[in-house]
């Protein structure tokens, strides 16, 4: 199987370029295995990876035009030759490694932690299974960045639009029956940029390797806002 891989090392290359590699495809091979095989051929080839089972969120890359997690992208589902590039719209540090600091900064902006005003009980804060169900589809995010870096609105205004990942996280806390800072959370999302740059393009939904739906979460936030406003 042939791979065309994005290469750039700021110390040795003036321009990025694509390099071809050929890998012997074995049964059950994932894209990460192929990238590791490429690394055995050329030790200078660099990408992030860790758990190998789609939970740590390290190895998000752009494959044949779509953002995927390499460790759970079977080679059998990829068109040969496979073109592997870094996430679009982020500054490249080297090869497939991009600078995600802005993505993390946007996450921090939504105050992503549970906020209580009442004093804490001695035991657990009670929550019914139905209330807990509201968090399904929100809390599972692994912060790989596949969604936000596939979002045109995030490409256009990465400094001002929070992006699908951060908004999904905002929704996770708005939806938590234990959280008591809903008003403040909504206030923090005011203005034309942070939330309302989403134009329901839905690239995030297609990109999410965990099958989550940030667009739906964003719609949910808007609905809560509207309800609060009326």
């Amino acid at each position: 199987m042939k791979f065309s891989v994005y290469r750039y090392n700021p110390e040795t290359d003036s321009e990025p370029y694509m390099q071809m590699f050929e890998i012997e495809q074995r049964q059950g091979m994932m894209l990460r295995d192929a990238l590791l095989a490429i690394q055995e051929q050329d030790e200078s080839f660099t990408f992030r990876h860790s758990c190998g089972e789609g939970v740590c969120g390290s190895d998000g890359v752009n494959v044949n035009g779509s953002n995927k997690l390499a460790c759970i992208a079977p080679l059998t589902e990829l068109k040969d030759p496979v073109e592997v590039r870094p996430f679009p719209g982020r500054p490249v540090i080297r090869d497939l490694v991009v600078d995600m600091s802005q993505f993390y900064a946007q996450y921090n902006q939504v105050d992503p932690w549970l906020q209580r005003k009442e004093p804490l009980p001695e035991q657990e804060i009670l929550q019914t299974p139905e209330e807990r169900d509201q968090l399904d589809g929100l809390y599972e995010c692994i912060m790989c960045g596949c969604c936000s870096t596939a979002c045109p609105s995030f490409w256009w205004n990465p400094d001002k639009f929070l992006g699908p990942q951060a908004l999904l996280s905002a929704c996770r806390f708005l939806a938590d029956s234990r959280d008591q800072a809903g008003e403040e959370r909504l206030d923090k999302l005011e203005g034309p940029y942070k939330l309302f740059r989403c134009h329901t393009i839905m690239s995030c939904v297609e990109a999410c390797p965990k099958g989550l739906n940030p667009t739906k979460a964003i719609g949910h936030i808007k609905a809560i806002m509207l309800k609060e406003a009326i």
Partner: protein, 113 residues
């Protein structure tokens, strides 16, 4: 509602005006199919009815507001230097106000005629 006006109000306005536009255009379409006016006077008479005049006024108001929000969205997405964006928005705003005055004049003239 004012607290989150620039985000939520714009978003809501765009959707509310869209719904009104769809409904009013459907009404307009059925009117033109089933009662096509055959003369200028008939047109004028139709527009002169208070309800129709109000509906038209609201239709154009919606159209202009809808255009304003949409155009503003496009500028926010693509035009990042503040000075240029504000200048274009101001020009566009004046153009829209001009259109609004023209519409009001037309409907007013039809009503008094």
């Amino acid at each position: 509602m004012s607290r989150r006006a620039s985000g939520l109000r714009a978003w809501f306005l765009q959707r509310a005006t869209a719904i009104y536009l769809i409904l009013f255009l459907l009404y307009l379409l059925q009117h033109l199919i089933f009662n096509p006016p055959d003369s200028f006077a008939a047109w004028q008479g139709w527009v002169a009815q208070p309800l129709v005049g109000l509906g038209l006024l609201l239709c154009f108001a919606s159209l202009l507001l809808h255009a304003w929000v949409g155009f503003r969205d496009v500028l926010i997405d693509y035009v990042h230097p503040t000075a240029i964006r504000v200048s274009i928005l101001t020009l566009f705003g004046f153009a829209l106000i001009g259109c609004a005055l023209w519409v009001m004049q037309t409907i007013f003239l039809a009503t008094v005629a």
